[in-house]
């Protein structure tokens, strides 16, 4: 993997961040749902236990209550004497594992609370006592209370100092049934060891630290796990003491005999717990079952932790595999991009990576390969075309050499020992040109001078020019008139001239003895004559350019040259020479240039004019062939120049 910017790494990072996020959400959701499910379960369990507990309490109390009720009935249904009453009291403590003591509070006369007899029997003692260990006011209060309610009554739990046990008394009021006036006969009661109840209920645990507690009508603990909870305080007082308003509320509800579930910090373990509570019907007590939440959720935490751990491992595995897989999958892409890069740098022969898939990467590879093939073949074509072009150019250069070879340059030799001097200069615009010039001897005393310009450029013009040149050279100047020769040449050129090439030409036949110059202008620009430092145009057209129309009758003109006269022939390449400012050299500048150099030798004149043109065009490319010929008459014969 190359760098941080690699595709595989980026994709992996994105995918896994998303996966991690989704996973975290799922775990969180699962946790919360499980939590609430567990709470619901706990409540159900609590409900079950509570109901179980209540029925157990009721059963347990029932075993205690029943004998007392039966005995109370016995008392109310029969005349009783002291002995009988003593016996009954004894009888009641027989189940001494639960009963601490018993008493009968008997009125000598029914309804008369002033004269009472106590019968009190403690389980640990061996005989009945004549004083109940409850203060008289309390007894009197019970009498009053039960006279109204006429129902048995479980007293508030109380710590029995003698035995240091928590007890509660079941007090049954007795009413006279024999005489039908339902006057109270007294109270019969047993003192019940609440510890026994606790032991019974202890067996109902589900978890390790859940517990059951029972509170009395006034909120005093009836059954409570071993703690430092002081028995003489009510739940409400305790709640205030530890400043736990939730517990206070719970206490109120329980005392009010409601049932339900509650979340609070409990005072037993000082943990956040779920407490389910329900009243015990017969005693006005209330049962609560408490599940410390962390106990409840212990399993959940463990599970979630494991889940998280597994998830993390899974995540790491996914990360590793994702990176590996992505690296593998993007390998073709990387190879392709490397290949593309190479192609971009000009290496068209780079090998394409092997990709067999049908997906986008496969398509890309095919496209790239096509492109590469196209490029290769294009380059090949290009190379061939260039080679071809170079070949053609090479041939054109040879053609130019051949063409230039046609043009005579033996000016000095030609004019040797003669009374004239001659020089010509031709610079073609392309490899082959359409301009030409020629000079040749007609007879001992006559020479012919010709200059021409083919319409058009390039190879066609060059070919036409060559033909024209050949015809000009082979003209019968000695036998025919110039006009006739020109006419014949024209006819020849008109034949098979479908492309309408034509050639403007100027012919001059100079008689070296007389100085007569007979000339025929076939559509060419007028040459110049410098006579005694004055410049003239040699005007007059004697017929159309050669090759235009056949069977033209040409005419001729005549001038007489004298010593030092100068003839300058040129083609329109000279006047059409253009500079950067789109100005043309024109006839004015040409005339100026000729005047400037007129007194020099022809070679210097042509050179001088050419320099002038070059200075004028100043680097602008040459658009047409440049040709200039200068002939000076009557000069002394050229002495053989020192070489």
């Amino acid at each position: 993997m190359k760098s941080r910017n690699s595709l595989a790494f980026k994709l992996s990072l994105i995918i896994l961040s998303v996966v991690l996020f989704i996973f975290a959400v799922i775990v969180f959701f699962n946790f919360k749902v499980s939590q609430s499910l567990l709470v619901e379960d706990a409540k159900k369990d609590a409900q079950y236990i509570t109901k179980l507990t209540i029925s157990q309490i009721q059963d347990a109390l029932g075993t205690v209550e029943e004998p007392v009720i039966i005995l109370s009935h016995f008392i109310t249904d029969n005349e009783m004497n002291s002995n009988q009453l003593r016996e009954i009291v004894d009888l009641m403590v027989i189940n001494s594992d639960r009963i601490l003591s018993s008493f009968i509070y008997y009125f000598r006369k029914p309804g008369d609370t002033t004269r009472v007899r106590h019968y009190y029997r403690q389980a640990s003692e061996s005989k009945t006592e004549r004083k109940i260990d409850v203060p008289e006011p309390v007894l009197k209060r019970w009498v009053e209370q039960l006279n109204i309610s006429r129902k048995p009554y479980w007293s508030e739990p109380r710590l029995n100092e003698k035995t240091n046990q928590l007890t509660s008394r079941y007090i049954v009021p007795m009413f006279d049934t024999m005489q039908g006036n339902a006057k109270m006969l007294g109270l019969i009661a047993i003192e019940f060891k609440l510890k026994w109840l606790r032991e019974v209920l202890q067996k109902n645990k589900i978890y390790d630290s859940d517990y059951i507690f029972v509170i009395s009508k006034e909120g005093r603990p009836v059954v409570i796990p071993d703690t430092s909870f002081k028995f003489n305080k009510t739940i409400l007082q305790r709640a205030k003491e530890v400043n736990n308003p939730e517990m206070y509320e719970l206490g109120q509800k329980m005392i009010a005999g409601e049932s339900g579930s509650f979340e609070t910090i409990d005072i037993i373990d000082n943990k956040r717990s779920v407490i389910y509570y329900e009243p015990v019907p017969s005693t006005d007590w209330s049962v609560g079952v408490a599940f410390p939440k962390n106990e409840l959720f212990k399993q959940l935490y463990r599970t979630t932790f494991v889940l998280g751990g597994v998830g993390l491992i899974g995540f790491i595995l996914i990360l590793i595999f994702t990176i590996l897989i992505l690296k593998r999958q993007t390998k073709p892409l990387r190879e392709l991009s490397a290949a593309a890069k190479e192609i971009g740098q000009g290496k068209f022969d780079v090998e394409m990576p092997v990709i067999h898939t049908q997906d986008e990467v496969g398509i890309l590879k095919d496209s790239l390969q096509n492109m590469q093939d196209e490029l290769k073949s294009y380059i090949k074509n290009l190379v061939n075309t260039i080679k071809e072009k170079e070949r053609i150019e090479g041939e054109l250069q040879v053609a130019q050499q051949i063409q230039m070879g046609y043009l005579r340059r033996d000016f000095d030799a030609f004019a040797e020992n003669k009374n004239f001097a001659l020089s010509a200069f031709l610079k073609p615009a392309r490899e082959v040109g359409g301009d030409f010039y020629d000079y040749f001897k007609i007879s001992e005393d006559k020479i012919c001078l010709a200059i021409g310009d083919v319409a058009g450029k390039g190879v066609p013009a060059a070919l036409f020019m060559t033909v024209a040149l050949t015809l000009i050279r082979s003209g019968n100047y000695s036998q025919s008139s110039l006009a006739n020769v020109v006419g014949k040449i024209n006819n020849q050129l008109c034949k098979r001239n479908d492309n309408s090439y034509f050639i403007t030409t100027f012919f001059g036949v100079l008689d070296l003895v007389s100085g007569d110059l007979v000339f025929c202008n076939a559509g060419h620009n007028y040459p110049y004559l410098v006579k005694q430092s004055e410049l003239f145009e040699v005007q007059g057209t004697h017929g159309a350019a050669l090759g235009v129309l056949d069977e033209i009758k040409y005419k001729t003109g005549k001038i007489k040259l004298e010593a030092d006269d100068l003839i300058v022939l040129y083609t329109d390449g000279i006047t059409d020479a253009e500079n950067k400012q789109a100005q043309f050299f024109d006839k004015n500048r040409l005339e100026e240039a000729i005047r400037l150099h007129a007194l020099k030798e022809p070679a210097d004149i042509t050179r001088g004019v050419y320099q002038q043109i070059r200075k004028f065009t100043d680097g602008e490319p040459q658009s047409d062939d440049l040709t200039i010929i200068a002939l000076k008459f009557g000069t002394e014969t050229n002495k053989k120049k020192e070489s």
Partner: protein, 110 residues
């Protein structure tokens, strides 16, 4: 160079604007040859806005003249500027082509 064409009942008129030289003579050649192939053998070339003509351009005129004449049509020029007239005179074309001053006069001759 711009070429404008318009059809008159007597002939096809082509106006040349600008220079006619080696760089663009093919344009004119193609246009005229297309018209001839389409059957327009009566053509007038208006040179009033033609500033310059090189030998390549003259060649096209010559070619057109030969072709149209062989098809029994008419090829005529008008509006030649002074310098162009000079070129035509020197090269001897004035004797070969029918040259008129303006379109109206030229069109009358068809």
């Amino acid at each position: 160079m711009n070429l404008k064409e318009s059809t008159h009942d007597k002939a096809m008129v082509i106006e040349i604007e600008g220079r006619l030289d080696t760089t663009n003579f093919n344009q004119l050649e193609k246009k005229i040859m297309d018209k001839i192939d389409a059957g327009k053998i009566n053509i007038l070339v208006d040179c009033s806005h033609m500033d310059y003509v090189s030998s390549s351009g003259l060649r096209i005129f010559l070619m057109t003249l030969k072709k149209i004449t062989s098809l029994n049509g008419q090829f005529v020029l008008c509006g030649l500027q002074e310098n162009i007239k000079e070129i035509f005179e020197i090269s001897g074309f004035t004797s070969i082509f029918k040259i008129y001053d303006n379109q109206t006069t030229a069109l009358d001759t068809f």
